[in-house]
């Protein structure tokens, strides 16, 4: 009963939309009917051209679906049957674009102040502190590195006090170290302000690290896969130790295949028999072992 009450009072972002899209293989209808729990970080995962960014844009109000509804907690943002369409300006979303889309004519501080409803210097200062931008506040975006620009984009998106943060592959252009630290910052923001965060990502380790839930995009449908472990490890194997990784390179040597894998941020080499499954660079793989006990040491 207690659990039932929790479930009942749990606030949700309910999305139920359909939109015709064009992909490289032809026309398809994106059909998304998902509930996203408020306050969590969730991921949209799937191949390119399956509508992840489009759905993000529909939530933001930058694109319109052919039909459907979007309810954010107690508010209706979209209801095509009843002609309700809350314009993007009124939706209170913090959108972080792949290209960052900073305003080049403004300094970092001005970018953040412009995003606020009313100029609030103390909030701007706090944001710049969190993202390590204080010493760069009077610089223009063109003078910053990719990672710094990304931090400004995040700080600017939060400055407008959004109800939902929408991040479109925010870390794809950054190196692993930079990714790691910005991922920590995204997690910190989510904890600090409890803003629901939807992230489009291809990076399995990133999804594992940040997200509590993952929505898988296949051609035309979006499926709630629950916890990231459900999607990436599956129930195919019950190993004692499991990792997911990506194949960086594979070399064939007589009877064996040497795979260079990226597990988390670390590349590792693994030898597999050549007559088994063939692996190509870019394949997502699961590494599991159940025959021995792993040695775990603190570093």
């Amino acid at each position: 009963m207690f659990l039932f009450n929790i479930l009942k009072t749990r606030k949700m972002i309910k999305i139920d939309i359909r939109k015709k899209l064009l992909s490289s293989t032809g026309e398809f209808t994106l059909n998304a009917n998902i509930d996203i729990p408020s306050g969590e970080i969730v991921a949209f995962y799937g191949k390119s051209g399956t509508g992840k960014t489009t759905l993000l844009r529909i939530i933001a109000g930058l694109a319109a679906p052919d039909e459907g509804t979007i309810n954010v907690e107690d508010n209706t943002w979209l209801d095509s049957r009843n002609g309700i369409y809350l314009p993007v300006e009124k939706r209170a979303v913090g959108y972080v674009f792949q290209s960052y889309a900073l305003f080049p004519n403004m300094t970092i501080k001005e970018n953040i102040l412009f995003a606020q409803k009313k100029p609030d210097i103390s909030q701007a200062k706090k944001l710049m502190e969190i993202f390590g931008l204080s010493s760069l506040q009077n610089r223009k975006p063109a003078m910053l590195s990719g990672g710094q620009q990304q931090r400004v984009a995040l700080a600017r998106a939060i400055a407008c006090k959004p109800r939902i943060m929408l991040l479109d592959e925010p870390l794809s252009a950054l190196d692993h170290e930079m990714r790691g630290s910005i991922q920590d910052e995204i997690k910190f923001i989510n904890k600090e302000w409890g803003i629901t965060t939807i992230l489009v990502s291809h990076d399995v380790s990133e999804i594992f690290k940040l997200c509590t839930r993952v929505y898988s995009f296949n051609e035309s449908t979006v499926v709630d896969k629950g916890n990231p472990a459900n999607l990436f490890s599956g129930n195919r194997l019950s190993g004692k130790v499991q990792f997911t990784g990506e194949v960086l390179a594979s070399e064939n040597e007589d009877l064996i295949q040497i795979l260079t894998l990226l597990v988390g941020n670390t590349p590792v080499k693994i030898v597999v028999p050549a007559n088994g499954e063939t692996f190509m660079a870019g394949d997502k793989v699961l590494i599991a072992s159940k025959a021995f006990n792993p040695i775990i040491q603190k570093l």
Partner: protein, 225 residues
């Protein structure tokens, strides 16, 4: 030299070029931004009309404008009958000519820099809850400043050298509607080569100043971007 600078053709040229530059700025910037918007038939028609003077033969265009703006024309007739206002063969005729030939340079320059602007930047401003007016003032206009400056300089340069339509609409009346370019023609026609040379040098100096400022503005644009 002092005589030249205080002469009627120089003052008229400067006056119409500056006034038309202000008008080209006021009308050209919104037009350039407008025609960059979502593709529609009306937008394409506006774009064609505005761009027409760039490629249309000036004499032919001048002739059509006489038909429209003359005392018996659609617009000219209305202005003459209602306000007793004449365009053809007056200062206003020269101003109209100079304005029309320079406008496409302004509009095209604004259009191309608006097109180059990252659409995500405008979308980002919208997600931040900003009004259309605020986006225009704080995001779009400051970021197409380079295009506006280039457009103004090109339009001004074109205005200085305008002959064809000015001749048709202004009438080349000495002491009234004679611009610098027409004054050069008149001097050569009268055999006063010395005066033609002086006027040509003056006009060239003005053009060189425009080129120098234009190059500086391009350099400035590069630095800020």
């Amino acid at each position: 030299m002092k005589e030249l600078i205080t002469s009627q053709p120089f003052l008229l040229t400067l006056e119409v070029s500056v006034i038309s530059l202000i008008l080209q700025f006021i009308i050209g910037v919104p037009l350039g931004i407008y025609i960059t918007g979502k593709n529609s038939i009306f937008r394409r028609i506006v774009e064609i009309i505005v761009t027409l003077p760039m490629i249309f033969p000036p004499m032919a265009l001048g002739f059509f404008l006489i038909l429209i703006l003359g005392k018996n024309g659609l617009i000219g007739g209305f202005l003459y009958n209602t306000f007793d206002f004449k365009i053809i063969f007056t200062f206003w005729g020269v101003l109209t000519a100079v304005f029309i030939v320079g406008l496409p340079f302004m509009v095209k320059s604004v259009q191309s820099s608006r097109k180059q602007l990252d659409t995500a930047m405008v979308e980002a401003a919208r997600t931040l809850g900003k009004s259309k007016f605020a986006i225009m003032r704080k995001v779009i206009l400051p970021n197409i400043r380079g295009g506006i400056t280039t457009g103004m300089l090109l339009a001004f340069g074109r205005s200085l050298g305008e002959v064809g339509i000015s001749l048709m609409l202004g009438g080349n009346i000495i002491g009234r509607t004679e611009t610098l370019s027409l004054a050069i023609y008149n001097s050569v026609y009268e055999g006063d080569f010395a005066k033609a040379a002086e006027l040509s040098i003056l006009l060239s100096v003005l053009a060189i100043i425009v080129i120098v400022i234009s190059n500086k503005s391009v350099f400035f644009k590069r630095k800020t971007n």
